[in-house]
């Protein structure tokens, strides 16, 4: 059985990026097929060229990449900022599905434009040029919306609030915050969580995602096809009358849920 390289490439293109890397070890012919532009072109999203060329910082990534494989690896290793700094884009390494993060600037933060409540500061650890830093509020309300058209169809996605806590934060340890997620025009699912990771108690706490950032999941949703649906998220605490301070918002991230 001596399959020509083209047939081998067609078989490998139907596996996953992780498998394609592994199959390089089978034989020299497999390696050539597994590394081919044909295979990695199938793993990359079809609109990758237009996506990357609209990035201010990375528009030359396409021309600098020597192969589709190296482009894939570059896009899955670190995010690129697009849409005038309002979003970032990355590929999920295992599956090649699209991941996005809405920057804090792309969210609606109530009182966000009033400097004594919220400030916009640059932070070295952020991929974006600025993050939203909470001075103090009683009324915490943050909303975001994303069109599912930008995501990979036929995929279960989860949305995460990506944030950090300053050392002297107050108001988040005992006061739960309501997270909500749902499609526009549909039902929303809500839950009450604690944003302060050092809190005790039974409510859901955030996870560490890479110093200094924490993340907490809003929930999951399914991107069915190429219909333009809007998924909405909100972070709300407006009832308790508790003063809150020391929260830093990087954004809301969307990535495929495990075992897709």
């Amino acid at each position: 059985m001596e399959l020509p390289e083209g047939c081998i490439a067609n078989i490998i293109a139907r596996t996953t990026p992780k498998d394609a890397c592994r199959l390089c070890a089978v034989s020299k012919l497999f390696k050539s097929a597994a590394d081919s532009d044909y295979v990695w072109g199938r793993f990359l999203p079809s609109d990758v060229v237009s996506l990357v060329s609209h990035s201010q910082s990375h528009s030359s990534l396409i021309t600098l990449s020597t192969s589709n494989k190296s482009l894939y690896l570059a896009l899955s290793d670190s995010p690129i900022v697009i849409d005038q700094g309002k979003m970032s884009f990355q590929l999920d390494k295992k599956s090649g599905k699209k991941c996005y993060m809405l920057a804090a600037r792309a969210l609606t933060i109530v009182w966000g434009d009033t400097p004594r409540y919220w400030q916009w500061i640059p932070l070295e650890e952020s991929r974006f040029s600025e993050v939203a830093r909470l001075e103090h509020v009683w009324w915490l309300e943050i909303r975001g919306v994303l069109s599912t058209l930008v995501l990979t169809p036929n995929t279960h996605y989860a949305a995460y609030l990506v944030f950090s806590m300053e050392e002297d934060r107050i108001g988040f340890q005992d006061c739960p915050v309501e997270l909500s997620i749902g499609m526009l025009g549909g039902e929303a699912s809500t839950k009450n969580v604690i944003l302060d990771p050092e809190s005790d108690g039974v409510r859901q706490l955030p996870n560490l995602r890479g110093n200094p950032w924490l993340e907490i999941e809003f929930g999951v949703f399914f991107v069915s096809s190429t219909e333009d649906e809007q998924v909405q998220m909100s972070v709300v605490e407006t009832e308790a009358g508790v003063l809150k301070s020391g929260l830093i918002i990087e954004g809301i991230e969307f990535r495929p849920k495990e075992d897709n």
Partner: protein, 198 residues
């Protein structure tokens, strides 16, 4: 130009609901069916057959529509007129009789049963591909040569499932790879770096 006028005239004779029906799949794309064939079929003309000749010089007669719907190569031969119905047979020197018969089976079944539900078709396909690896290889080569998109997809998918999660040594056995082509140093390096692959 003349043919175009005749076709338009025939199209005009057909009721509109039938004209709308004149779509056929060719190699995965949908193509307008020539109205004269519809008219001939309506008039009770016998279904046109073509002759395929295997590498062992065995002749297989098969409905033209069946092969034209599935094989891009055969469809192109018929469309560009290089196939003469009266005297020609299409020589397929790289496909043996056993494989050609199977390919014809596949195309015929899928043409006549394209309205079946998905589950039944998938069950039939699974049974169809219940062959040894040599048979699978021969089918793949034939489907590749004849450019039969859906059969190719089916076989590629099957082989992908065969190798999913398997170790390198086992994949080499499946594909009968005696010489992997790496230098001893390269092979040793791979095994050291990724021992769990092997």
């Amino acid at each position: 130009m003349e043919l175009l006028c005749i076709r338009q005239w025939i199209s005009g004779l057909l009721p509109t609901w039938l004209s709308a029906w004149c779509i056929k799949p060719v190699g995965g794309a949908l193509v307008r069916q020539e109205p004269e064939y519809i008219l001939l079929a309506l008039m009770g003309s016998p279904l046109k057959k073509i002759m395929l000749c295997s590498s062992e010089k065995e002749i297989f007669s098969v409905e033209e529509q069946v092969m034209v719907q599935h094989s891009v190569i055969i469809n192109n031969m018929i469309e560009d007129g290089s196939y003469n119905h009266e005297e020609s047979k299409i020589p397929l020197d790289c496909v043996d009789s056993k494989t050609l018969k199977k390919v014809i089976d596949y195309c015929t079944h899928h043409t006549h049963h394209h309205n079946d539900n998905q589950e039944d078709l998938e069950a039939w396909d699974a049974q169809f591909l219940n062959v040894d690896s040599n048979g699978l290889y021969d089918l793949l080569m034939a489907a590749n040569y004849l450019e039969i998109r859906n059969l190719l997809d089916l076989i590629y998918g099957t082989i992908k499932n065969m190798i999913k999660g398997k170790k390198i040594d086992e994949i080499r056995r499946i594909f009968n790879i005696k010489d992997h082509g790496f230098t001893p140093e390269e092979e040793e390096q791979n095994r050291k770096e990724y021992p769990h692959f092997y």
